[in-house]
Subunit: 333 residues, 2 copies
């Protein structure tokens, strides 16, 4: 296989298996932001780390942990997929600001302040009232800045996201979502938010989850690449990347867990509905990890030059991780 462009996916929660890791290599994926947890508390988060440790042992020929951004280059050189970790919620730190540094030491590079609902830190995108970043949230943002943990507002609401950008001394990211101007959805982001993310030095990872796309599963590659081009205009070519939100091979029970956790007895359908409760149908041009080449080719067709394609497919994520996960100068922990 000839060396493809550096490819970093800004979010997946696939049903990790040897088959999927092999498909990732086939698709030229050099590194992926793997969601470690949705609703897991501190102790449960360590169970998830434990499961990954076993995967790293068992599939050492295919994957390796990324505990430092340089490890991505090492993964690429050895034809493996680098796995870097993020949490889609702040549940791992419970009510304890000291757990930010502990989770960072364990390799948690990214954490969302909220997942759809109000959290102890901020407001999620499904709440009706958004009171912004909380007292605890301000402390946690400061600590995330200190230790070098990227603040991810993918599932957060508008005001909380703008608050976080204002409060943070370092870039804020949206690892997986699309512009609301392309497709109006609670999970997609306003131009105001996207501009502020770019100004903070952050990144938007484009989602190919059909609920985030115009025409859902029927969205064409050309429409997707058009959205990328428009967003490049809005945010600048250095502030966009991929964040597929691919949940390859997951059973519906996982979707139910993501949406309901332990917080509700009444079924919550998230972006779906009672009559459309399951996983959406996949896109024709991106249904699994082997299809990243389609996107790169689509971007070329759309008129992006080679350097721009490389930035979108992986270089911007690499820069973001390199800059964003260094502890602040003099930070001790």
């Amino acid at each position: 296989m000839s060396q493809s462009v550096l490819t970093i996916d800004g979010l997946q929660y696939s049903n990790w298996s040897r088959a999927i890791f092999e498909e990732m290599r086939e698709g030229g994926v050099d590194a992926v932001h793997a969601t470690l947890v949705y609703h897991e508390n501190c102790r449960e988060t360590l169970l998830r780390f434990g499961e990954w440790q076993r995967r790293f042992e068992e599939h050492a020929d295919l994957i390796m942990p990324v505990y430092h951004p340089d490890d991505i280059e090492r993964a690429r050189e050895t034809n493996r997929v680098g796995i870097f970790f993020g949490a889609q919620n702040c549940s791992p730190i419970e009510d304890d600001v000291d757990l930010v540094a502990i989770m960072r030491r364990l390799g948690l590079m990214i954490m969302q302040l909220t997942y759809n609902n109000q959290s102890l830190l901020a407001c999620g995108c499904y709440e009706s009232e958004d009171s912004g970043v909380t007292r605890f949230g301000k402390q946690v943002i400061r600590e995330m800045n200190r230790v070098g943990m990227l603040i991810d507002m993918s599932h957060s609401s508008e005001r909380s996201t703008l608050d976080a950008i204002e409060l943070s001394e370092r870039p804020v990211i949206i690892s997986h979502a699309n512009p609301a101007s392309f497709h109006a959805a609670k999970r997609n982001k306003s131009d105001k938010v996207l501009r502020a993310i770019a100004e903070s030095g952050g990144i938007l990872g484009f989602s190919v989850y059909p609920f985030h796309l115009k025409n859902g599963p029927d969205c064409t590659l050309d429409e997707f690449c058009g959205m990328v081009a428009d967003t490049a205009e809005l945010m600048g070519i250095d502030h966009i990347g991929m964040g597929t939100d691919l949940c390859q091979g997951q059973p519906e029970s996982v979707l139910t867990w993501m949406r309901n956790g332990r917080w509700t007895k009444a079924m919550d359908y998230g972006e779906g509905s009672q009559s459309n409760a399951g996983w959406p149908s996949p896109l024709a041009w991106f249904s699994d990890n082997r299809h990243f080449g389609n996107i790169a080719e689509g971007l070329r067709q759309r008129g992006f030059n080679q350097e721009e394609v490389e930035k979108i497919m992986g270089r911007n994520w690499l820069r973001q991780l390199t800059e964003g996960t260094q502890p602040q100068p003099g930070a001790v922990f």
Copy 2:
């Protein structure tokens, strides 16, 4: 202050404070094995790590974490005390073998398989029956070998200790105890155990806790150094070091916690008794961290040459940590 011999203390659980860190520097202590936990479960262990993170921030001019043995040299060069962590019990890993690697990643370099009582792994030195290393214990020893976490049998019973040495592919240590031939006590070790520790490549750290010494608080420096000389004969000069068991400034409530944890309603007096329940009176020649020079001088008086004194005061511990905390070749986690 002129550069004193490299001084590494193989165990303390002092009531950590700026005053104590200053005394450590005054006493020429370059690094200390700090007990992180006695009975704390996984989540509680993270609280203790969190407290240390705050100490590292607050007293960055006096202390620094030792996450790799090389950090000890860095601590010495910058006139700070390097802190390396150990657990006096296996409570941090609960019933989960994966937590061994997670705790190692967080900087736990040393773990005792038991603390006085039967644990899930092995038998403690205060039990009446010793059935040796358990099924879970065998798995944990293998995992500790893999990730490079030193197996410490200080509070374990005879058979369990010999079992662990037999099962482990890497050195087994006793971080803090004395030979039973010097002073018969349940916590002190038989010549058979000490010989096996040395043959495994491990170390004995000499305790100055009065309950471990002949004549208790009245033990003289000369008697102590005589014990060191006899043990050097028994184990070899490369397999002995310091492990003071200093609990400087601790209130009696901490002693009660160490002895009773949550496991008994009836008061357990450990090495003491109802009529002698508290901390023992300190030694005249070693009552706090400023007195390591007395021991080095006592050893010289006893006839140890400079190289031997340096080995006992710190060089042997440095070698043990350097060799013992490297993951096995090819180990991934």
